[in-house]
Symmetry: C2
Subunit: 287 residues, 2 copies
């Protein structure tokens, strides 16, 4: 397991962590100021300053990307299927332009939440089948662009509205089904927040292996959690044994960034320099 | 699958659903008034009016029990282990006195939440091992009292603070390990709120079989969920396909009560007769 205590070479900042404190250009500037070497930007943040400007800002700051957030939201009714497909193709194009190593997929929950305006459904099995089909279709475009897709299993608390892929096993079942030869076109993005509770987790990380482990995200699970979406904790403030999980992915050969992604009303209310200083300190002490 | 549309013979009321509207005696009176045939009372509600009075009230109203809530909260540090054991033995004695068909077990999360005052830990694997050991020990006392234990897997959102058994598979693994001969001493209580998202659910219900299916609870998952603990929905108001899940347990031979358990700040704020009328109506239409 790599020693993170001496520096923050392997810290990446998911830009949602400080989305309320500035635009993407300002976040990139702050990252550079704190010696952060990589980011994972969100599409809406890129869109807000324009793709060309984002590409230049990343390049000028000498940043790497640890991923691009995000494609997905596949489940929809028939009327919204083309929209979903085209939207995901644009996400691949943007990821390519930005030099991202993978596009993170949050697959969507039930159609009415995944693609608003879709006819409402309670059929989670059908949503899951749609996700399989949509990723299969998307892979053709992604292969042509040489952009790996990283399926992110989301905590079961988000099964209805954000992602009906809720365990690492489920994500890997999709990978094995659609990319049985393990070509590198498909893998998983594992976020400790979503997976720490899973009794099947450790054997599934072994099953994933280095080639399927495309990204590793960290934050913490707070008790109590006061908001289902925006009360994620700073690493060390919650109950997740983060080092144990990082040890498990690194035992498989994962040697990429440890990406900090915190959706938090609390941390969004603090100055960006305070947040980044705390991220760096916790990266060195508890990640 | 049984037809519930004509009456509410198989509706049981978990008394937590109306815990803010009155004491257990008042809830029993209201249940009788609405032709409800069974309840599942909570220990604190029994304690508040006294066990003897609770036993008499249940008997005088001609009610059955569909379970007794609850034993468990096993994970603790060494200093709290005797407390946990004795507390669970008392729960068995009370369940017996009340004529409950099973004692529901919510197994507890990490020790500091499960048995407050315990030394804090982030070791979920150790908590799970403790749960296995504690249920094994508890089974001796439960067997002597002929009181079946029903392990309730809780939604992964409660893994830290309420239950580190989070899937039906995990609960059944414990059953198979501790009661391999399927004597009836150990089974599961399945609540749609906790299990609806699980991609492994349907095969695990088949695996459970009739003899392990000791209880079936219903409510609904709301989107958005505004409170992690106390924003469960009335059946029909959320995203769970309840009939599909009831069909799955009944296909295994389950023929017991469909128990309504709703923790909800919203429903706790309404008059008890309104809540029970709505429960009955939804039991007939969407359960």
């Amino acid at each position: 397991m790599r020693d993170f205590s001496g520096d923050h070479r392997w810290l990446s900042l998911n830009t949602a962590t400080v989305r309320k404190q500035g635009d993407l250009a300002q976040i990139i500037e702050a990252s550079a100021r704190h010696g952060i070497r990589a980011i994972d930007p969100w599409r809406d943040q890129v869109g807000a300053i324009g793709l060309d400007r984002a590409v230049r800002a990343v390049r000028d700051a000498g940043l790497e990307l640890s991923g691009y957030c995000r494609g997905g939201m596949f489940a929809s009714d028939a009327a919204h299927r083309i929209e979903a497909r085209d939207d995901n193709r644009r996400a691949i194009d943007e990821a390519k332009a930005l030099g991202a190593p993978c596009l993170v997929l949050v697959v969507g929950g039930l159609p009415q939440y995944s693609r608003p305006g879709s006819v409402a459904s309670k059929n989670l099995l059908e949503a899951r089948a749609q996700v399989d089909d949509a990723i299969a279709e998307m892979m053709e475009y992604a292969r042509a662009a040489q952009m790996p897709l990283a399926i992110e299993p989301l905590h079961p608390a988000y099964a209805a509205d954000r992602a009906c892929v809720n365990t690492t096993k489920q994500a890997l079942d999709i990978c094995d089904s659609l990319d049985p030869k393990r070509t590198g076109a498909l893998g998983v993005a594992l976020d400790v927040y979503h997976i720490w509770w899973d009794p099947e987790l450790l054997p599934q990380i072994v099953r994933a292996g280095e080639d399927r482990l495309l990204a590793f995200h960290v934050c913490d699970w707070l008790v109590p959690t006061r908001d289902m979406l925006n009360d994620r904790g700073m690493m060390g403030d919650g109950v997740i044994d983060i080092k144990r999980l990082r040890a498990a992915v690194e035992a498989q050969g994962f040697a990429g960034y440890s990406e900090i992604e915190i959706f938090s009303n609390e941390w969004w209310g603090r100055p960006i320099d305070d947040v980044l200083r705390t991220c760096i300190e916790r990266h060195r002490s508890v990640v």
